[in-house]
């Protein structure tokens, strides 16, 4: 686990060091501490615009994904119909084709739907990638819910739909938060479709903006890249701190039997 966190710690330290140090052999303890990388990131690049755009896209993704995932999980898990198993596996086909080759056909399809150069278009792609696995994630959670509530509801003659809204969703709230976070992260780091579908610079998300600077031809500013890594993770971290309380509760809720 040290191995897991150590690189990130190293990157964090690097983000406070001047690039001059980073292109040479680095000592463990920085010789110079500087904020210049963060200044470049926060003040001199379009960081805030990108973060804003990423937030918007991720928010759209979560909003679109949640109903699909909840509905899908409930459908596959708690109802019976012909072809149910096949359909639930069919959804996994999203992960089966190399995404790079999807780009040109998607561009054409989305163009006919006027979804090019729009945050919604990118969110739609992210949703497609988040939903199948999200459904499975939520299923696992639903399975851990005590069935008595639903049985009671069925006995009382409450329709399945009402059961879904009035009983399942409130009970599964922590699980739903978890998949919301999952969808959010899937969208937060997505690069390929954001870069291809968003033509205007003003709409660019954080991965697109950062990759442009970091991979932008000949540049070699490791300090900036490190600051960029921290800058990408920070909003997520803050978000998780806020929402994470529910998440932790969600994880441990299952243990309380």
């Amino acid at each position: 686990m040290f191995i897991l966190l150590a690189p990130f710690l190293w990157i964090l330290i690097a983000s406070f060091r001047p690039n001059m140090e980073l292109i040479r052999n680095q000592t463990l303890i920085p010789e110079n501490i500087t904020l210049e990388n963060y200044v470049s990131l926060f003040a001199k690049s379009a960081y805030w615009k990108w973060v804003m755009n990423s937030f918007i896209v991720s928010l759209y993704t979560v909003i679109l994904s949640l109903p699909l995932i909840v509905a899908g999980a409930y459908s596959v898990y708690r109802t019976q119909f012909w072809g149910r198993n096949v359909l639930s596996f069919f959804l996994l086909s999203v992960y089966i084709f190399p995404t790079a080759l999807l780009v040109v056909p998607i561009f054409k399809i989305f163009n006919s739907l006027s979804l090019i150069d729009s945050h919604l278009g990118v969110a739609l792609m992210n949703t497609a990638f988040a939903v199948p696995f999200g459904i499975w994630l939520l299923q696992a959670f639903l399975r851990s819910l005590p069935p008595e509530l639903e049985e009671a509801a069925a006995v009382d003659g409450i329709s399945k739909i009402r059961t879904l809204f009035q009983i399942i969703i409130p009970q599964a709230a922590p699980g739903i938060i978890s998949i919301a976070m999952f969808a959010f992260i899937v969208s937060w780091t997505e690069y390929l479709f954001a870069m291809t579908l968003l033509l205007s610079n003003d709409l660019h998300t954080l991965p697109v903006g950062l990759t442009g600077i970091v991979f932008g031809q000949y540049r070699v500013n490791w300090g900036f890249a490190a600051a960029g890594a921290v800058g990408s993770a920070l909003p997520v971290f803050i978000l998780f701190l806020i929402v994470g309380r529910w998440f932790i509760r969600g994880i441990s809720a299952g243990a309380i039997k």
């Binding site: 190399p98 499975w136 696992a140 971290f237 809720a253």
Partner: protein
């Protein structure tokens, strides 16, 4: 009226609930795949350029192409290596941090961070850390005396794949750990209590309680994880571009290179379709062999509708 019949309102509801997701997947994946299949039967080189129908020529060419066959092999190695490594590590970490300890919450949140960094930034930072002359890994290991000569993490064809596996795992282990944590949390405490009372040691506890409860999770992750791992492209491309030589050229990398740098979209589409078929076959076999576990995941509560 059978239970599955669509005149049954529950069955209809089930279908409607899953329909939007299915429609989305068709739009976003199936339509492009169909387009890909069409292109693979042509000789088109650049999207939009002239072409003629050539039937199965692209497919036959690929079967005879040493590079392609080799990349299939590399993909297989990649998937197995990543799958095993990530699963074992994630499980270990999940088991470790499942025990309450100080800072447990902190770790559980921070651990997601490698996953939140865009691939390009990760790639470039790891290239920096792997550098033979100024990268921290080499310099610290050499100054500690562990290494005499620097390890060429990305320039040595024999270990490039290992280095990439490590970085790819670094990205995904946090996510898998969380999933395992959630799974572990659903194992009832009483079973552990009972086992301890019976005097069972840690290993026995793991074997007879933990593992069986994890099996459904492991199975699904085995399926989805394989699909994900086989299509990993961005990290490989940005760190080694499939090199040095072709040592890290897996199928997606080769197809991308063929399509966009070899300017041969029809051949690349054919290769992608072949790979797709192989994955489908794998999925079908995997699901069949593990059908018990999948039924567990897809359980229905028959008594609910009574």
């Amino acid at each position: 009226m059978t239970q599955n019949d669509f005149r049954n309102s529950e069955a209809r509801l089930g279908l409607y609930l899953i329909l939007p997701a299915v429609v989305l997947v068709i739009l976003v994946v199936i339509l492009p795949i169909i387009s890909g299949i069409q292109i693979s039967f042509t000789s088109q080189r650049v999207v939009g350029s002239e072409y003629e129908m050539v039937g199965l020529k692209n497919y036959l060419d690929l079967f005879g192409d040493k590079n392609f066959i080799a990349s299939l092999g590399r993909s297989a190695v990649w998937v197995i290596a990543n799958g095993l490594f990530q699963t074992v590590i994630s499980l270990l970490i999940a088991l470790l941090i499942n025990q309450p300890f100080r800072g447990q919450n902190f770790v559980r949140t921070w651990i997601l961070l490698p996953w939140a960094v865009p691939a390009a930034v990760t790639a470039i930072l790891w290239r920096w850390m792997f550098d033979a002359t100024s990268g921290i890994i080499n310099t610290s290991m050499m100054s500690l005396g562990v290494l005499e000569k620097p390890l060429l993490f990305l320039a040595n064809p024999e270990i490039a794949g290992i280095s990439l596996t490590f970085v790819n795992s670094w990205r995904y282990v946090p996510f898998l750990t969380i999933i395992f944590l959630a799974s572990l949390a659903s194992v009832p405490e009483e079973e552990y209590e009972a086992a301890k009372v019976d005097g069972a040691g840690l290993w026995l506890q793991f074997k007879s309680i933990t593992f069986p409860n994890l099996l459904p999770t492991l199975t699904v992750l085995g399926l989805v994880g394989t699909l994900w791992a086989s299509n990993v492209f961005d990290i490989i491309w940005m760190m080694t571009r499939g090199g040095p030589g072709v040592s890290t050229t897996t199928v997606p990398v080769l197809m991308y290179d063929t399509a966009f740098y070899g300017y041969n979209i029809s051949k690349a589409s054919a290769g992608a379709i072949i790979f797709l078929l192989l994955l489908i076959i794998f999925a079908i076999v995997f699901i069949f062999l593990n059908r018990k576990q999948f039924i567990l995941a897809n359980e229905t509560f028959k008594d609910l509708s009574k």
